[in-house]
Amino acid sequence: MTLALIITALVTVLAAATVMSLRNLVHCALAMAVAFSGVAALYLQLNAEFVGFAEILVYVGAIAILIVFAILLTRSGETPEKSVLTSGWLAGVAVSAMVFTLLGWAVLTSSALPKEIATAPAAPVKNIGDALMGKFVLPLEIVGLVLTAAMIGAVIIALKEDKKDNPGGQP
């Protein structure tokens, strides 16, 4: 267990805790970008370089920007004066604390986890590309279809509502 791994894990955990404790949504989105960068750094240390860079591209690059745009479009960038928690927040916190306790206990005491540290596997991009274009080509095409459908659906949902007297308009 290296020092770098512990530092990355701590940064990720602290950033994730910050996301859910800040009141201002823009600050939450920025902390979320830090948390995703921490996860990407963890991937890099786990020898999954391609996934690490994909994480930076997709999450830090695209989803964080998308979320900041949504925050600004819904005019919720200011710090709210009222409470930011729902009415039943205590039960939610209790359940999530129980989930973490149970998972942590299972991870720390399980005998099913491998004891000896495996040698670092290599995952060159060439092999990933071969797998995607060979064995997993059908799932890849289906994911492309799902992405296309989701993008078209998102555009249609977010379109401006038409007036009622417009025949054949979107509802």
Binding site: M1, V13, A35, A48, T86, L103
Partner: protein, 103 residues
């Protein structure tokens, strides 16, 4: 603690904090951020078990994470479009005030 256990603990914490945010915060966008954190926790588990488990040469963990990222991107786009549509319709993104589907 082995490195695998560190990764699994980080992943468990990410899942718990994402879940807590999704059920306790009022703002719809924060709920989406919580869901993204939970998806990342699952992805971290896949990569950790791929790295320290048996048969890493099969690349199944990496491929699964790549597909899961694509689906998370689709989910985020549709979710944020829904938030914007609800805001345009009801002038709020506070989940306590959005109680009915009927416009």
């Amino acid at each position: 603690m082995t490195p695998l256990q560190v990764c699994l603990l980080v992943s468990a914490f990410l899942f718990a904090i994402g879940f807590a945010g999704a059920v306790t915060r009022r703002h719809a966008i924060l709920v989406l951020i919580g869901i993204e954190l939970m998806l990342n926790a699952a992805n971290l588990n896949f990569i950790a078990f791929w790295r320290y488990g048996a048969h890493p040469e099969a690349l199944t963990g990496i491929i699964f994470v790549l597909f899961s990222m694509a689906l998370a991107g689709a989910e985020a786009a549709v979710g944020l479009a829904l938030v914007i549509a609800i805001y345009r319709h009801k002038e709020t993104s506070n989940l306590d005030e959005v109680k009915e589907l009927k416009g």
